[in-house]
């Protein structure tokens, strides 16, 4: 058991170090492996900054800029508690800093099936889902393995 913990830790360190030392192109290829082994939460933690920069550059190319700051966080399905993707959130720096995840709640919106995306300050949403006011969704990230 101890052996597996050491191996897992070594893998995390190797991938983390590789990401730090490598450029964006290498990071993009590493994401598939990291997704398969560690899942969306890990990928967002390690690669979130680069994905955030990529989205901001993409928006800038189209002449779009945001007030405040942006950040990439995982989307967590409320109820199931599973990671179902990632989102870029935007808002004032102090409020974005407190966002840990986006809670996805399925609901009927004006009679149509929809999903509310609620920026929250926890990665383990319970029955209470407290929205961080003033923070919105500026981008969505879908992962494909």
């Amino acid at each position: 058991m101890e052996f597996y913990k050491v191996v897992a830790l070594a893998l995390v360190l190797i991938i983390g170090l590789t990401v730090c030392l490598s450029g964006t192109a290498e990071a993009q290829n590493l994401i598939i492996d990291a997704l398969k082994i560690f899942g969306i939460g890990y990928v967002v933690t390690v690669f979130g900054g680069q994905i955030n920069d990529f989205i901001n550059n993409l928006a800038n190319q189209k002449g779009v800029s945001w007030e405040g700051t942006t950040k990439v966080v995982p989307i967590i399905s409320v109820g199931a508690g599973t990671y179902v993707g990632a989102a870029q959130v935007v808002g004032p720096q102090d409020r974005v800093d407190t966002v840990q995840a986006v809670g996805q709640v399925e609901a009927r919106i004006s009679g149509i099936r929809g999903r509310y995306l609620i920026p929250i300050s926890t990665k383990t949403p319970g029955s209470t889902l407290s929205r961080i006011q003033g923070v919105g969704i500026s981008g969505l990230i879908d992962f494909r393995i």
Binding site: A27, Q28, N29, I31, I32, L35, Q50, I51, F54, I55, L58, A59, K62, G63, V64, E67, V78, Q88, V90, G91, V105, I109, S110, I112, R113, G114, R115, Y116, L117, I118, S127, T128, L129, S130, R131, I132, Q133, V135, G136, I137, S138, G139, L140, I141, D142, F143, R144, I145
Partner: protein
């Protein structure tokens, strides 16, 4: 001996820094209490008649925070307003700042929270009466309460939401629907959400979602500041 003196000095420095930090934190927190306490003393409830029906109003000073128009749990609208006012007075006496006021979902119902305690439920009935959704109503009520807690005018606050089509930038085709939130004046300018797509490596597809004031997103994207996407709707074919 010399080592002992160094250790003692280090311990004293840590103690001094900790004490200074505690003092700074406590004084910082005190500054947040002021406006909330000012509002706390004035939360009241009153009964009025509107359109022939009895309505319970919750007031901060002379400004109406919420209007409760339906009975629930055996309580009349006025009794519900009284219960909300009592709850708010207790919460506001415990150093409540505007940032402590949020919205949330409890048991599938949109609520306004203060320090994670339920203040009021934005139920379907009240959302229908106000021609909005429970989520938008909770946001509006929370904004009014935040304004009251910071000593601002409650009536200047108006937050809403609406559903608009998502248009793919470049092609200009409709690829879904989005729920957009913002102040009432800004929200009126939003006619669509522009979707800019990109590919980050082989495994990551990104979509930038921009509330815009024109449906011509092929040639230009006119973003509406102060608005943002808060949900997606799935249109089944």
């Amino acid at each position: 001996m010399r080592q002992r003196v160094i250790i003692l000095l280090a311990v004293l420095t840590v103690c001094a820094l900790t004490a200074a930090s505690i003092l700074l934190n406590s004084s910082g927190k005190r500054s947040l209490i002021g406006p909330a306490e000012a509002a706390a003393a004035n939360i009241t409830a009153r009964q009025v008649t509107s359109g022939g029906a009895s309505v319970g109003e919750v007031l901060a000073g002379d400004q109406v925070l919420f209007r409760i128009r339906t009975s629930a749990g055996g309580l009349s609208p006025y009794q519900r307003a009284q219960a909300v006012a009592n709850r708010l007075n207790i919460l506001m006496n415990n150093s409540l700042s505007p940032s402590d006021i949020t919205t949330g979902l409890i048991g599938g119902q949109e609520v306004v929270l203060a320090n994670d305690q339920v203040v009021i439920t934005a139920d379907d009935a009240h959302a229908r009466i106000n021609n909005t959704t429970p989520s938008a109503l909770a946001s509006t009520w929370a904004s009014r309460l935040q304004a009251a807690a910071s000593g601002e005018s409650v009536d200047q606050v108006a937050v809403g939401e609406k559903i608009v089509p998502i248009l793919s930038v470049g092609a200009g085709t409709r690829v879904g629907g989005a729920v957009v939130s913002g102040s009432a004046d800004r929200l009126g300018q939003v006619v669509a959400v522009a979707q800019v797509e990109g590919q980050f490596g082989n495994a990551v597809r990104v979509r930038v979602l921009v509330p815009v004031s024109t449906t011509n997103v092929v040639q230009n994207i006119r973003r509406v500041p102060g608005t943002s996407v808060i949900g997606l709707v799935d249109i089944q074919l």
